[in-house]
């Protein structure tokens, strides 16, 4: 058995194991900031239970150290070597590779229009955007990026979060979202051109993480320095931004000139 098979088998095992533990519950409704209920004491709080808090806190500290001692210096060095627009192109390239998966997820969620739009984004950006290095689909054709994950699909199907989970190196997640991520990793690895060897996949993944980090240097430190309990601050931010990303996508206002 070679390394790649082992890697795939272990992924499959983890997915199967995770799904066994997934708790079924109703998907939570989305928030509207213009409703006062969304500011109620009861509404603000832990969305999913956090029974693993001691473990999660330990992982949070671990990830924090990795960020501060490894990722941040590497990404800072990288950002000094490559100008921002090139790093942006690299980011676009990776994002474009995820579009087919997003399209499938929209399909599984019954959002056929978004599925089609996402697929056309992939086609436009792969051809006119030179393998996805640029984003003419958003810039010229006004088709904005829309996020869809398998975790979201599971949520639409009624799978509850299970519990909050801080994954080593990957950060904030829930049992459901992490399982979804595993499924997505399996699915994308089937069409990535670098799927022939586990070592290459890891290198590509690391490259992607370093590149993403280089585009948001300082953000992590800012949130941390402004927080009273960074663990709670990041847990809260994870749930908030995830819920927001589900449906609230910006549509240009016809009444205002965007370029103004």
């Amino acid at each position: 058995m070679n390394l790649n098979n082992l890697y795939r088998l272990s992924l499959r095992l983890m997915v199967a194991l995770a799904l066994v533990f997934v708790v079924f519950a109703n998907a939570s409704g989305t928030e509207d900031f213009l409703n006062d209920e969304s500011y109620d004491d009861k509404a603000v709080g832990v969305k999913a239970s956090d029974p693993l808090e001691p473990f999660n806190r330990a992982m949070f500290t671990f990830n924090d150290k990795v960020y501060v001692w490894v990722l941040d210096p590497v990404a800072t060095g990288y950002s000094k070597v490559l100008p921002a627009d090139i790093r942006q192109c690299v980011g676009n390239f990776f994002y474009n590779f995820g579009e087919p998966i997003r399209s499938v997820n929209f399909l599984l969620q019954g959002r056929f229009r978004d599925s089609g739009l996402t697929l056309s984004r992939f086609a436009i950006n792969s051809i006119a955007g030179v393998f996805g290095l640029a984003d003419p689909a958003a810039d010229e054709f006004k088709i904005p990026r829309k996020k869809a994950t398998f975790g979201q699909t599971l949520s639409v199907w009624g799978v509850g979060d299970g519990f909050y989970l801080v994954v080593p190196l990957l950060g904030s997640s829930t049992l459901r979202d992490f399982s979804g991520k595993m499924v997505e990793t399996l699915a994308t690895s089937s069409y990535y051109p670098w799927n022939d060897e586990a070592g290459t996949s890891v290198a590509v993944f690391s490259g992607q993480v370093v590149n993403d980090t280089s585009l948001r240097l300082g953000v992590y430190e800012d949130i941390k320095s402004m927080s009273f309990d960074p663990y709670v601050a990041f847990r809260n931010a994870y749930f908030q931004s995830r819920d927001k990303a589900t449906d609230n996508v910006l549509v240009p206002n016809p009444n205002y000139d965007v370029n103004h």
């Binding site: 900031f33 603000v44 832990v46 627009d85 402004m226 908030q240 549509v251 965007v258 103004h260």
Partner: protein
Amino acid sequence: MGMALSQSAASATPDPTEQFRPFLKKVTDILVDPQLKTIPKNEQGRKIISVVREHFDFREMSKRVLGQQWRELNAQEQGEFEDLFTQLLQYAYIGKIDDYSGQEVEFTLQRIKGERAEVQTLLVDKGKTIPVSYIMLLRGEQWMAYDVVIEGVSLVRNYMEQFKEILTKEGYTGLVEQIKEKISQIEKEQKKS
């Protein structure tokens, strides 16, 4: 479009975007003003806060961030907390002054729901765009913001959850102490840099 027209014809509700466009311009103009860098850090923050106050309701923000606890405070305590929380925000964002280098603000969308409104903007920074939303309330003729939502994360709700934990564990006096401690901590860090 038709709906927007009939809405503005039906009521005399002021347009939130029309109020926020010149307001944000005023704030960013101060940030790029070379004069600003010549005064001490502490003064810079105070100067910016005084302008930000024109369209930010720090009392409403403090009230929401405390939730249930706010109603249990007397008028004097409420005022003290408002000052403290405003000071915290002032110190938290003072460090950001140096980061601002004329990034563009694009107005993308607004929603009005009775006396509440949301103005969505995009902060364009080196090819990267950060969605920033202002949640506001109509006070007379003025739209006053009481929450800022950055990349889908509400500042008020994020602090609210953290404060809630502190309130449960250490009570209100514990929270006040922690905020004071945080302010002096940020103050020290800024003196160092």
